[in-house]
Symmetry: C2
Subunit: 192 residues, 2 copies
Protein backbone atom coordinates (compact mmCIF):
# COMPACT_ATOMS: atom_id res chain seq x y z
CA UNK A 1 0.00 0.00 0.00
CA UNK A 2 1.39 3.49 -0.83
CA UNK A 3 2.38 5.55 2.23
CA UNK A 4 -0.47 8.03 1.66
CA UNK A 5 -3.04 5.23 1.79
CA UNK A 6 -1.50 3.77 4.91
CA UNK A 7 -1.73 7.16 6.63
CA UNK A 8 -5.36 7.53 5.57
CA UNK A 9 -6.23 4.04 6.82
CA UNK A 10 -4.48 4.67 10.11
CA UNK A 11 -6.40 7.92 10.57
CA UNK A 12 -9.69 6.17 9.76
CA UNK A 13 -8.94 3.47 12.32
CA UNK A 14 -8.14 6.07 14.98
CA UNK A 15 -11.36 7.91 14.24
CA UNK A 16 -13.44 4.71 14.43
CA UNK A 17 -11.69 3.61 17.62
CA UNK A 18 -12.25 6.99 19.26
CA UNK A 19 -16.00 6.75 18.68
CA UNK A 20 -16.32 3.09 19.70
CA UNK A 21 -14.27 3.42 22.87
CA UNK A 22 -16.16 6.59 23.78
CA UNK A 23 -19.59 5.08 23.28
CA UNK A 24 -19.04 1.57 24.55
CA UNK A 25 -15.92 1.52 26.68
CA UNK A 26 -12.78 -0.52 26.26
CA UNK A 27 -14.10 -4.00 27.09
CA UNK A 28 -17.22 -3.89 24.98
CA UNK A 29 -15.29 -2.79 21.92
CA UNK A 30 -13.63 -5.42 19.73
CA UNK A 31 -10.94 -4.76 17.14
CA UNK A 32 -13.30 -6.34 14.65
CA UNK A 33 -15.93 -3.63 15.40
CA UNK A 34 -13.38 -0.89 14.86
CA UNK A 35 -12.01 -2.42 11.68
CA UNK A 36 -15.56 -2.89 10.40
CA UNK A 37 -16.40 0.77 11.04
CA UNK A 38 -13.25 1.81 9.22
CA UNK A 39 -13.98 -0.60 6.37
CA UNK A 40 -10.70 -2.50 6.65
CA UNK A 41 -9.52 -5.89 7.80
CA UNK A 42 -8.93 -6.35 11.55
CA UNK A 43 -5.37 -7.57 10.98
CA UNK A 44 -4.44 -4.01 9.99
CA UNK A 45 -5.07 -2.88 13.57
CA UNK A 46 -2.40 -5.24 14.80
CA UNK A 47 -0.06 -4.24 12.01
CA UNK A 48 -0.47 -0.48 12.63
CA UNK A 49 -0.94 -0.35 16.40
CA UNK A 50 0.29 -3.66 17.79
CA UNK A 51 -2.72 -4.36 20.00
CA UNK A 52 -6.14 -3.10 21.07
CA UNK A 53 -4.54 -1.76 24.25
CA UNK A 54 -2.00 0.32 22.29
CA UNK A 55 -4.72 1.61 20.02
CA UNK A 56 -6.69 2.70 23.12
CA UNK A 57 -3.58 4.41 24.49
CA UNK A 58 -3.06 6.28 21.28
CA UNK A 59 -6.68 7.40 21.09
CA UNK A 60 -6.79 8.62 24.68
CA UNK A 61 -3.38 10.29 24.49
CA UNK A 62 -4.70 12.34 21.59
CA UNK A 63 -7.00 14.52 23.71
CA UNK A 64 -7.69 18.10 22.75
CA UNK A 65 -4.97 20.03 24.51
CA UNK A 66 -5.14 22.81 27.06
CA UNK A 67 -7.33 25.76 27.73
CA UNK A 68 -7.53 29.08 25.92
CA UNK A 69 -5.52 31.84 27.58
CA UNK A 70 -7.21 34.56 29.61
CA UNK A 71 -7.26 36.34 32.95
CA UNK A 72 -6.81 34.03 35.93
CA UNK A 73 -10.02 35.13 37.66
CA UNK A 74 -11.86 33.61 34.70
CA UNK A 75 -10.04 30.28 34.78
CA UNK A 76 -12.95 28.22 36.14
CA UNK A 77 -15.35 29.80 33.66
CA UNK A 78 -12.93 28.94 30.84
CA UNK A 79 -12.57 25.36 32.11
CA UNK A 80 -16.32 24.95 32.25
CA UNK A 81 -16.70 26.14 28.67
CA UNK A 82 -13.81 23.98 27.46
CA UNK A 83 -14.94 20.84 29.27
CA UNK A 84 -18.69 20.92 29.54
CA UNK A 85 -19.79 23.11 26.67
CA UNK A 86 -17.27 22.00 24.08
CA UNK A 87 -18.58 20.22 20.98
CA UNK A 88 -17.56 16.59 21.58
CA UNK A 89 -19.20 15.16 18.46
CA UNK A 90 -15.89 13.67 17.37
CA UNK A 91 -15.84 11.71 20.63
CA UNK A 92 -19.40 10.38 20.36
CA UNK A 93 -20.90 13.50 21.97
CA UNK A 94 -19.23 13.12 25.35
CA UNK A 95 -16.04 14.33 26.97
CA UNK A 96 -13.34 11.68 26.51
CA UNK A 97 -13.02 11.46 30.30
CA UNK A 98 -16.45 9.83 30.30
CA UNK A 99 -15.19 7.22 27.86
CA UNK A 100 -12.21 6.60 30.08
CA UNK A 101 -14.51 6.36 33.07
CA UNK A 102 -16.51 3.74 31.20
CA UNK A 103 -13.28 1.78 30.84
CA UNK A 104 -12.20 2.50 34.39
CA UNK A 105 -12.28 -1.11 35.57
CA UNK A 106 -8.77 -1.14 34.09
CA UNK A 107 -6.00 0.19 36.25
CA UNK A 108 -4.20 1.92 33.43
CA UNK A 109 -7.36 3.69 32.31
CA UNK A 110 -7.72 4.90 35.90
CA UNK A 111 -4.16 6.15 35.99
CA UNK A 112 -4.68 7.91 32.70
CA UNK A 113 -7.80 9.65 34.05
CA UNK A 114 -5.98 10.63 37.24
CA UNK A 115 -3.08 12.15 35.32
CA UNK A 116 -5.46 13.95 32.99
CA UNK A 117 -7.59 15.40 35.81
CA UNK A 118 -4.61 16.32 37.98
CA UNK A 119 -2.43 17.81 35.24
CA UNK A 120 -5.16 19.72 33.45
CA UNK A 121 -7.40 20.91 36.25
CA UNK A 122 -6.19 20.34 39.80
CA UNK A 123 -2.70 21.79 39.31
CA UNK A 124 -3.91 25.00 37.69
CA UNK A 125 -6.64 25.50 40.29
CA UNK A 126 -4.29 24.83 43.19
CA UNK A 127 -1.91 27.49 41.91
CA UNK A 128 -4.76 30.01 42.02
CA UNK A 129 -6.18 29.06 45.42
CA UNK A 130 -5.47 31.16 48.48
CA UNK A 131 -5.33 29.96 52.09
CA UNK A 132 -4.72 26.47 53.51
CA UNK A 133 -5.83 23.10 52.13
CA UNK A 134 -5.24 24.26 48.56
CA UNK A 135 -4.80 20.81 47.05
CA UNK A 136 -8.07 19.55 48.55
CA UNK A 137 -10.00 22.65 47.48
CA UNK A 138 -8.60 22.39 43.95
CA UNK A 139 -9.71 18.75 43.79
CA UNK A 140 -13.15 19.66 45.13
CA UNK A 141 -13.57 22.24 42.39
CA UNK A 142 -12.32 19.78 39.75
CA UNK A 143 -14.84 17.26 41.11
CA UNK A 144 -17.57 19.79 40.50
CA UNK A 145 -16.55 20.30 36.86
CA UNK A 146 -16.38 16.53 36.30
CA UNK A 147 -19.77 16.08 38.00
CA UNK A 148 -21.38 18.83 35.91
CA UNK A 149 -20.01 17.23 32.75
CA UNK A 150 -21.41 13.84 33.73
CA UNK A 151 -24.83 15.06 34.84
CA UNK A 152 -25.13 17.16 31.70
CA UNK A 153 -24.01 14.65 29.09
CA UNK A 154 -24.40 11.11 30.46
CA UNK A 155 -27.16 11.39 33.03
CA UNK A 156 -28.90 14.31 31.29
CA UNK A 157 -30.67 15.75 34.32
CA UNK A 158 -33.24 18.17 32.91
CA UNK A 159 -32.09 21.60 34.17
CA UNK A 160 -28.39 21.05 33.45
CA UNK A 161 -29.00 19.45 30.08
CA UNK A 162 -30.94 22.55 29.04
CA UNK A 163 -28.66 25.15 30.61
CA UNK A 164 -26.27 27.42 28.70
CA UNK A 165 -22.83 28.42 29.95
CA UNK A 166 -24.31 31.84 30.77
CA UNK A 167 -27.03 30.26 32.92
CA UNK A 168 -24.30 28.69 35.04
CA UNK A 169 -22.20 31.86 35.33
CA UNK A 170 -23.53 33.22 38.66
CA UNK A 171 -23.21 29.78 40.29
CA UNK A 172 -19.71 29.27 38.90
CA UNK A 173 -18.76 32.61 40.38
CA UNK A 174 -20.18 31.72 43.81
CA UNK A 175 -18.71 28.22 44.05
CA UNK A 176 -15.32 29.00 42.50
CA UNK A 177 -14.87 32.05 44.75
CA UNK A 178 -15.90 30.04 47.84
CA UNK A 179 -13.54 27.16 47.12
CA UNK A 180 -10.55 29.12 45.88
CA UNK A 181 -10.78 31.75 48.63
CA UNK A 182 -10.56 34.65 46.17
CA UNK A 183 -12.98 36.48 43.84
CA UNK A 184 -13.50 34.61 40.58
CA UNK A 185 -15.65 35.52 37.59
CA UNK A 186 -18.45 33.28 36.32
CA UNK A 187 -18.05 34.16 32.66
CA UNK A 188 -15.34 35.69 30.46
CA UNK A 189 -15.49 39.45 30.74
CA UNK A 190 -18.18 39.39 33.46
CA UNK A 191 -18.03 41.57 36.57
CA UNK A 192 -16.07 39.83 39.33
Amino acid sequence: MPKRDREATRARLLEAARLRFAREGYDATSVRDIAGDAGVDATLIFRYFGSKKRLFDEVTADLPAGLPDGPEEELVARMLRAVVFHDWTRYGGEHPLVAMLRSSAHDDARQRIRREVCDTYVDALRDLAEGGDRELRAELLSAWLVGIGILRSVVATPALAGASADDLAPHVEAVASALLGRPMRGAPGSEG
Copy 2:
Protein backbone atom coordinates in the same frame (compact mmCIF):
# COMPACT_ATOMS: atom_id res chain seq x y z
CA MET B 1 -34.03 -28.31 44.70
CA PRO B 2 -35.67 -27.45 48.03
CA LYS B 3 -37.02 -23.90 48.27
CA ARG B 4 -34.40 -22.92 50.86
CA ASP B 5 -31.57 -23.92 48.52
CA ARG B 6 -33.13 -22.06 45.63
CA GLU B 7 -33.30 -18.90 47.74
CA ALA B 8 -29.66 -19.29 48.76
CA THR B 9 -28.52 -19.83 45.16
CA ARG B 10 -30.53 -16.84 44.01
CA ALA B 11 -28.94 -14.67 46.70
CA ARG B 12 -25.48 -15.91 45.75
CA LEU B 13 -26.10 -15.07 42.11
CA LEU B 14 -27.28 -11.56 43.01
CA GLU B 15 -24.20 -11.01 45.16
CA ALA B 16 -21.85 -12.21 42.41
CA ALA B 17 -23.67 -10.14 39.77
CA ARG B 18 -23.52 -7.02 41.94
CA LEU B 19 -19.74 -7.29 42.21
CA ARG B 20 -19.13 -8.16 38.55
CA PHE B 21 -21.39 -5.42 37.17
CA ALA B 22 -19.84 -2.92 39.60
CA ARG B 23 -16.27 -3.76 38.71
CA GLU B 24 -16.55 -4.40 35.01
CA GLY B 25 -19.77 -2.88 33.75
CA TYR B 26 -22.67 -4.51 32.01
CA ASP B 27 -21.09 -5.35 28.65
CA ALA B 28 -17.88 -6.85 29.95
CA THR B 29 -19.75 -9.17 32.29
CA SER B 30 -21.01 -12.50 30.99
CA VAL B 31 -23.62 -14.68 32.69
CA ARG B 32 -20.97 -17.39 32.65
CA ASP B 33 -18.66 -15.19 34.80
CA ILE B 34 -21.42 -14.56 37.30
CA ALA B 35 -22.46 -18.18 37.47
CA GLY B 36 -18.82 -19.20 37.88
CA ASP B 37 -18.35 -16.78 40.78
CA ALA B 38 -21.49 -18.17 42.43
CA GLY B 39 -20.38 -21.74 41.77
CA VAL B 40 -23.46 -22.73 39.80
CA ASP B 41 -24.39 -23.49 36.21
CA ALA B 42 -25.15 -20.51 33.96
CA THR B 43 -28.53 -21.94 32.98
CA LEU B 44 -29.74 -21.15 36.51
CA ILE B 45 -29.41 -17.44 35.76
CA PHE B 46 -31.92 -17.76 32.95
CA ARG B 47 -34.20 -19.93 35.11
CA TYR B 48 -34.16 -17.51 38.07
CA PHE B 49 -33.92 -14.14 36.36
CA GLY B 50 -34.92 -14.65 32.72
CA SER B 51 -31.97 -12.78 31.19
CA LYS B 52 -28.75 -10.92 31.95
CA LYS B 53 -30.66 -7.68 31.46
CA ARG B 54 -33.26 -8.59 34.09
CA LEU B 55 -30.54 -9.68 36.49
CA PHE B 56 -28.86 -6.27 36.01
CA ASP B 57 -32.20 -4.56 36.65
CA GLU B 58 -32.71 -6.50 39.85
CA VAL B 59 -29.20 -5.77 41.09
CA THR B 60 -29.40 -2.05 40.41
CA ALA B 61 -32.94 -1.74 41.77
CA ASP B 62 -31.66 -3.14 45.06
CA LEU B 63 -29.70 -0.03 46.02
CA PRO B 64 -29.31 0.92 49.66
CA ALA B 65 -32.32 3.11 50.30
CA GLY B 66 -32.58 6.68 51.46
CA LEU B 67 -30.71 8.86 53.87
CA PRO B 68 -30.73 8.86 57.65
CA ASP B 69 -33.10 11.44 59.14
CA GLY B 70 -31.77 14.67 60.62
CA PRO B 71 -32.09 18.47 60.55
CA GLU B 72 -32.49 19.92 57.07
CA GLU B 73 -29.50 22.25 57.37
CA GLU B 74 -27.36 19.10 57.58
CA LEU B 75 -28.86 17.40 54.52
CA VAL B 76 -25.85 17.90 52.24
CA ALA B 77 -23.46 16.72 54.96
CA ARG B 78 -25.62 13.61 55.42
CA MET B 79 -25.72 12.97 51.67
CA LEU B 80 -21.95 13.26 51.45
CA ARG B 81 -21.48 10.76 54.25
CA ALA B 82 -24.06 8.37 52.81
CA VAL B 83 -22.76 8.55 49.24
CA VAL B 84 -19.05 9.19 49.40
CA PHE B 85 -18.00 7.84 52.76
CA HIS B 86 -20.25 4.80 52.90
CA ASP B 87 -18.60 1.38 52.94
CA TRP B 88 -19.30 0.07 49.43
CA THR B 89 -17.34 -3.17 49.78
CA ARG B 90 -20.42 -5.15 48.84
CA TYR B 91 -20.48 -3.24 45.54
CA GLY B 92 -16.82 -3.76 44.71
CA GLY B 93 -15.70 -0.72 46.73
CA GLU B 94 -17.53 1.88 44.65
CA HIS B 95 -20.90 3.56 44.74
CA PRO B 96 -23.31 1.61 42.51
CA LEU B 97 -23.83 4.77 40.44
CA VAL B 98 -20.27 4.33 39.22
CA ALA B 99 -21.12 0.83 38.08
CA MET B 100 -24.16 2.17 36.28
CA LEU B 101 -22.02 4.89 34.73
CA ARG B 102 -19.66 2.20 33.48
CA SER B 103 -22.68 0.62 31.78
CA SER B 104 -24.03 3.95 30.60
CA ALA B 105 -23.66 3.24 26.91
CA HIS B 106 -27.07 1.60 27.40
CA ASP B 107 -30.07 3.85 27.34
CA ASP B 108 -31.86 2.06 30.14
CA ALA B 109 -28.81 2.26 32.41
CA ARG B 110 -28.77 6.00 31.73
CA GLN B 111 -32.45 6.33 32.55
CA ARG B 112 -31.91 4.36 35.75
CA ILE B 113 -29.06 6.69 36.78
CA ARG B 114 -31.13 9.76 35.96
CA ARG B 115 -34.06 8.53 38.05
CA GLU B 116 -31.74 7.59 40.91
CA VAL B 117 -29.92 10.94 40.91
CA CYS B 118 -33.09 13.00 40.50
CA ASP B 119 -35.24 11.11 43.00
CA THR B 120 -32.62 10.72 45.70
CA TYR B 121 -30.65 13.96 45.49
CA VAL B 122 -31.99 16.65 43.20
CA ASP B 123 -35.58 16.59 44.51
CA ALA B 124 -34.60 16.84 48.17
CA LEU B 125 -32.08 19.61 47.50
CA ARG B 126 -34.51 21.59 45.36
CA ASP B 127 -37.06 21.52 48.17
CA LEU B 128 -34.48 23.09 50.48
CA ALA B 129 -33.17 25.73 48.08
CA GLU B 130 -34.26 29.35 48.39
CA GLY B 131 -34.48 31.90 45.58
CA GLY B 132 -34.83 31.41 41.81
CA ASP B 133 -33.35 28.70 39.59
CA ARG B 134 -33.85 26.09 42.32
CA GLU B 135 -33.84 23.07 40.01
CA LEU B 136 -30.57 24.10 38.37
CA ARG B 137 -28.89 24.83 41.69
CA ALA B 138 -30.04 21.50 43.12
CA GLU B 139 -28.58 19.72 40.09
CA LEU B 140 -25.32 21.65 40.41
CA LEU B 141 -25.00 20.54 44.02
CA SER B 142 -25.85 16.94 43.08
CA ALA B 143 -23.19 17.16 40.37
CA TRP B 144 -20.67 18.11 43.03
CA LEU B 145 -21.54 15.07 45.17
CA VAL B 146 -21.32 12.76 42.15
CA GLY B 147 -18.00 14.34 41.12
CA ILE B 148 -16.55 14.00 44.62
CA GLY B 149 -17.57 10.35 44.70
CA ILE B 150 -15.92 9.70 41.34
CA LEU B 151 -12.69 11.58 42.05
CA ARG B 152 -12.41 9.89 45.42
CA SER B 153 -13.14 6.30 44.44
CA VAL B 154 -12.49 5.83 40.72
CA VAL B 155 -9.92 8.47 39.86
CA ALA B 156 -8.37 8.53 43.36
CA THR B 157 -6.94 12.03 43.24
CA PRO B 158 -4.53 12.20 46.19
CA ALA B 159 -6.06 14.84 48.49
CA LEU B 160 -9.65 13.60 48.15
CA ALA B 161 -8.71 9.94 48.41
CA GLY B 162 -7.01 10.69 51.73
CA ALA B 163 -9.62 13.09 53.13
CA SER B 164 -12.11 12.29 55.88
CA ALA B 165 -15.68 13.54 55.97
CA ASP B 166 -14.59 16.04 58.63
CA ASP B 167 -11.86 17.43 56.36
CA LEU B 168 -14.55 18.24 53.81
CA ALA B 169 -16.95 19.82 56.32
CA PRO B 170 -15.94 23.50 55.96
CA HIS B 171 -16.02 23.25 52.16
CA VAL B 172 -19.37 21.46 52.20
CA GLU B 173 -20.73 24.26 54.33
CA ALA B 174 -19.42 26.96 51.97
CA VAL B 175 -20.56 25.34 48.71
CA ALA B 176 -23.92 24.05 49.98
CA SER B 177 -24.78 27.42 51.50
CA ALA B 178 -23.74 29.26 48.32
CA LEU B 179 -25.76 27.01 46.00
CA LEU B 180 -28.86 26.59 48.16
CA GLY B 181 -29.02 30.27 49.11
CA ARG B 182 -29.39 29.51 52.84
CA PRO B 183 -27.05 28.58 55.70
CA MET B 184 -26.13 24.89 55.68
CA ARG B 185 -23.93 22.91 58.04
CA GLY B 186 -20.88 21.02 56.86
CA ALA B 187 -21.14 18.19 59.39
CA PRO B 188 -23.85 16.75 61.64
CA GLY B 189 -24.11 18.79 64.82
CA SER B 190 -21.59 21.41 63.60
CA GLU B 191 -22.15 25.14 63.98
CA GLY B 192 -23.99 26.54 60.95
